[in-house]
């Protein structure tokens, strides 16, 4: 039991923290010695999805502009999946062409691990925001700013390390990833529209035949 607790502590807190603070050593261990786990990454992603719902509902009244009646948990979950899915697929397709050394699994894992600071700072931050006045909200915003900044930092360093890129090439890879994401969205919408029209067409033929016979 104790060793299990210890290994959970190591997987979820200690190792991500080490990766955040020592990006080169950390991601080296992550890639070379396979210390990262896909299960941990997936749990981080689901915790992030839950974090969005949690923020929607429980962020302090003083800065929460959202209408609580408009909360849609499924929409939040799907938007997280869509965003991360687009990013990982986009990054994978770009880096494969750019001679990146990372495979798809590693990209998913890096993306998941990168959400670590957001989860570890975000949950207490949102709880804390309920005990602040309007003037003190700046602290909360600073905290969340740090969390997002660290997430961006981990994502950047992770992508840099697993593909064994230099600085400039990583930046180019990120820009191209965004382009790839936009292209995928475009094709997605296009296909959605076409399939909708196709289904409509078949449905109307079926209806016509049904009415006749």
């Amino acid at each position: 039991m104790k060793t299990k607790l210890k290994s959970i502590w190591f997987d979820f807190i200690k190792f991500p923290k080490y990766m955040m603070l020592h990006p080169f050593d950390g991601f080296d261990e992550f890639k070379r010695y396979k210390k990262g786990k896909i299960s941990v990454a997936l749990i981080f992603i689901s915790l992030y999805a839950f974090f969005r719902i949690f923020t929607y509902q429980n962020e302090a009244f003083l800065i929460n502009e959202r209408n609580p009646l408009m909360l849609n948990s499924l929409q939040e979950i799907f938007s997280v999946i869509l965003l991360l899915g687009l990013f990982t697929v986009g990054n994978w397709s770009v880096t494969t062409l750019m001679e990146g050394k990372g495979n798809f699994k590693e990209i998913v894992m890096v993306t998941g691990y990168a959400l670590f600071p957001l989860i570890i700072i975000g949950y207490p931050g949102v709880v804390l925001s309920n005990f602040l006045t309007l003037e003190e909200m700046a602290f909360y915003q600073l905290l969340m700013g740090i969390a997002y900044g660290l997430t961006a930092w981990m994502l950047f360093m992770g992508i840099l390390n697993i593909h064994q890129y230099g600085l400039g090439k990583t930046i180019i890879a990120f820009i191209l990833t965004v382009v790839a994401m936009a292209v995928m969205m475009f094709f997605g919408l296009l296909f959605f529209d076409l399939i909708q029209q196709f289904i409509e067409f078949i449905a109307s033929i079926y209806e016509e035949l049904n009415l006749r016979y």
Binding site: F61, L62, N67, F131, T133, L134, E135
Partner: protein
Amino acid sequence: MKLFMIFSMLITLPIQLSTVNYNYSYYGEVIHSAPGMNFATYFNGNTAGTNFGSPEDIVVYDDQIYMIDSSLNALIIINDEFKRESDHTTFPLTPEYIEKLSNEGVTDFSDLTLLSPYGVEVKESGIYIADSGNYRVVKLNHDYEVVDVFNEVEDATFDEISFEPRKITVDGSERMYVVARNVYEGIIELDSDGSFNRFTGVNPVSLNPLEIFQRSIMTEEQLAQLQLYLPTEYTNVVMSDKNFIYATSKPSEENAENIIQLINPKGVDVLKRNGYHPPMGDIHYIEGMNNYVIDGPSSLVDIAYTDHGIFTVLDQKRSRLFTYDSEGNLLYINGDEGAQSDKFTEGVALAYLGDDLLVLDRKSRTVIVYQLTEFGDKVNTAIMHHTLGEFEKAAELWEEVLVLNTNYEVAYNGIGKFYLREGEYKKAIEYFNLGHDRYYYSRAYKEYRNDIIKSNFGYIVGGIVLISGVLIGLKIRSTYKKGGSILYED
């Protein structure tokens, strides 16, 4: 059975005919509201014992209703029982004015007549008529004799276009503020002797950096083809008793949020916009070209104020009246389009007669009188108590308002402010939460938190000491377990 059907239809008839009153919630949703004002009576040419041709403007002064008519070219005075007092189409000159004219070498001293006048203003200093067809402003005394005529404005703007006044208002020191046709520089301020002072309430056109860049690389021909960027055009002005001008203007292309303005003597818009939404009439509207529905932002044509900073604007496009308080909270919306006698189709002017609101309909040549409902009256009285600082009375009234209209979020803030003053911070927090007032919520919460910390100070400090003691103790224990020592050793 048939009879039963007919009867049941008859019973539902009032519901079918009545209009649904609405208001906007904090989140911008359209929610049901109790009506703040409803139809009291109406009067037109027949009932008042005179004739209305094409009435353009009404002003209430000293319980008399002054109405200007652009087709009969007449000034019609109606008393507060809505009966004709007098009509005036010709205005004799005063001896002083005759003397002034003869000094200037004029020999024609015949009575003046008007030509399609559009605006009127009545103050203690006299009656001012925007005599648009004759391109002049006529000043009368209270015996309807001409005191002065202003037809020349010495400004470069009027070298090219003629001075065609549409609406006029006058401040305490007899300065005239004129809205003229095709003038985009602002409201024309004329001194009491008619000389041009300045343009006030000027709305500068703001271009964003991209537009500035676009314009800098365009050729002259391209620039000429671009749509002209014109600043807001004012539609009406009303002078408040503190010499601030309530003004309405046409919405500009992308900004409809400053169509109501309160212009101070310096010429700056100081209207408070602390409500849930900026005062701009309807906040939701369809945009774009469509021939089947009314689209675009409200087009406000007149504004009227009553006591304690409460003012009402008239939306000509959708025939609605929006009442706001001095903080910019939307209090109630009423009035709707129709040909029945309690509705209006082309509202052109608005005036408060005591607490009653007069709406002038040009098309049906009728003035519709609205009176406050129980709900509206309570809201107005609560605001009065609030401005006078009587928060307890205000809170009581807000409670009653909430019984009449549970959706009324403004009322919760009123009650919350009372509890905040009383020191019942927990209750105040609850009410500010319901009323979505962040600023006061924060203030109440601060006090509430201080109270809790003060009363539990011992426990909090004790807890901190205990937790840190336990942590240090554990650390020491683990250090010794590992064979170390906490004592300083080399």
